[in-house]
């Protein structure tokens, strides 16, 4: 595969770079009528450039809320969140949209591609909102699709692609604006085990090329592919540990039996 043509490749491999994300004492409440749901109770976390971390936890542990806040889809009730040296807590909705557009790449469990829209057009979408000139948009989208190994399927519609391929289109879409961090919410939740490992292979490769990745998962064997695992429980981080010997997805794949995609 091709190398990532992006700025954060500068900090490639350096675990000791400047923190790309710094979260301090973040709380999040939801008021549901009479009752107050305390989703996050003081979370602090630093993510450095080039990290690949997996966030684990049961449902209701606060990991999704944390993900939404890091992804600038939601704002903390209190606390500090600095993304790439920008204090995100005080930004307007428009500014948050711009941050999501340029600094964050989202990958979802359900792929979330626009149906009846080709792979290329799906990947182009963020460049459209970034007001990138028309000539560059397609070029960048094609590059991103080649990066995830779908250079030959750019004019396919999501319905013509397998789950793994759809997820790769989603990854290409997340990468097209050269974000500071890739956020993946249960990226393998809808995939079979072999395809899941394939996706992890892509993540590992992108990470090796310098991309910072934060992934929410509840599968331990998937979390293993990350370099750092964080465990959420009851709205707090309970454990934060480095993975000693991450398996190489490429190696694991060789040992797995090939199953038909359908």
């Amino acid at each position: 595969m091709v190398t990532i043509p992006q700025q954060n490749a500068v900090g490639a491999g350096s675990q000791s770079g400047a923190p790309i994300i710094r979260v301090r004492d973040v709380h999040k409440y939801y008021d549901l009528g009479e009752t107050r749901v305390h989703a996050l109770r003081g979370v602090a976390l630093e993510i450095r450039r080039g990290e690949f971390l997996a966030i684990m936890g049961a449902s209701g542990s606060g990991k999704s809320t944390f993900m939404n806040i890091v992804g600038c889809l939601d704002r903390p009730t209190s606390g500090e969140y600095i993304l790439d040296e920008t204090d995100v807590a005080g930004l307007s909705k428009e500014q948050l949209a711009a941050i999501r557009n340029r600094k964050i790449g989202f990958v979802f469990q359900g792929f979330n591609l626009l149906s009846r829209t080709t792979a290329l057009e799906n990947v182009e979408l963020p460049t459209l909102y970034a007001r990138i000139p028309k000539e560059d948009r397609e070029k960048r989208a094609v590059e991103a699709l080649e990066l995830v190994g779908l250079g030959d399927r750019i004019h396919h519609y999501p319905s013509q692609l397998s789950g793994g391929q759809q997820q790769r289109v989603a990854i290409a879409r997340a990468l097209v604006n050269q974000p500071a961090i890739l956020l993946a919410d249960e990226p393998t939740g809808n995939l079979d085990s072999r395809t899941s490992v394939e996706i992890m292979g892509i993540f590992q490769k992108l990470n090796a090329d310098g991309l910072t990745i934060m992934m929410v998962t509840h599968e331990h064997d998937i979390a293993e592919f990350a370099k750092r695992n964080i465990f959420f429980r009851d709205g707090k981080i309970r454990r934060d540990e480095l993975v000693a010997n991450s398996p190489s997805a490429a190696e694991v794949l060789k040992t797995m039996p090939i199953v038909d995609e359908d």
Binding site: N68, L73, E94, R100, R102, L113, L125, K134, R173
Partner: protein, 435 residues
Amino acid sequence: MDFAAILRIAMRALARNKLRSILTSLGIIIGVGAVIAMVGVGQGARQQIQDQISAMGSNILFVGSGSVNRGGTRTGWGNTKTLVQADLQAILRECPAVKAAAPGSNTSAQVVFQNNNWSTRVTGTTPEYFDIRVWPVQQGTIFKEADVESTENVAVIGETVRKNLFGDANPIGQTIRMSVRTSGTSTSSSTSTSSPGSTTQTTTPSTAQPFRVVGVLASKGYSAGGMGGDQDDYIFIPITTLQKKITGDTWLQFIQVSAVSREASFAAQEQIEALLRERHRIRPGQDDDFMVRNLADFAELQDQQAKVLTYLLGFVASISLIVGGIGIMNIMLVSVTERTREIGIRMAIGATEADVQRQFLIEAIVLSGIGGAVGIVLGIITSYVITNVFGWAVLIPPEAIVIAVGFSVAVGVFFGYYPARKAARLDPIEALRYE
């Protein structure tokens, strides 16, 4: 985001539900089509009225023998017998704003030429009448002042009369026979006895009299509403001939007057009114036994009526445009709900509220804009159909098209705004979770 891209996205979204989009546009198509066609009909009527009025001349006044008010019941004009030839002379003599005046009386008659016969109106007048009304002959001549003095049986006929009596034959010099309908009250036998000295000349009203056709008038077509229908369905003969040989009356039903200029027509009106009140000995506070109509007033009134008609038609038609707009709003609301997830995705990858709002607004505007464009074509076609089938004049003013397009886009904006706002206000997290 560049406009071409937004437009492409909107077109694609609309193409996804083709039937739905077409049906939604149909509301606007019908609305705009109706507005254009109706305004076209209204404006056409207005134009026609204006043409006719300017053809008649704008300095014309019409003095009619008046209505009588008896215990609150008023009769129509032409029911008093106080307007006479002497009044006409006095008007010419004493009203400086008056340029010319011609007397007139009407009656109905049956005319026959060879095997053809035709029922029409006969007006007795003088040659000045045709000058005042700026009405030339297309063939032959107008009868002369000498004909009036010697009560000649000569006639100038209108185009409709010519067509019905002569067809392709040359009417000039031909003799037609004219018999007055006996139903007319003003031609009752008592009249002939009340006009002494003329009994020898007065033939029995129902007897046909020969008239030599000396001229055919140029066609004037239908007059503006309320002015007597087909203006070409008339025969003009000397006033003296009508009075002495046909009706036996001496009074005038009307005097056609021209003022020295258009501006002078109002002065002429006042002068004539004052003069006739004096001559007819009408005391202050008493109703006139005549009426003076100023064509400038009349033109204004007619134009006003046509304008009201146009507005009314346009207003009724624009109701359907509003209904069409509601249809757009309805569909856009459905669309926003259906595409909640898409909205969530777009927001997650960086679409701002403004982007989302713009997208849905453009969709609504494309719907209404396409509807508007098709509606204009439909409206123009409808107008031509109306013109050809019903024979009405239709005039589509260019600004009506501009207004219709503007209005349909405005409908799109107005009825698209709320759904678009609703889409933009969605919480991206909720929207992404929407199934």
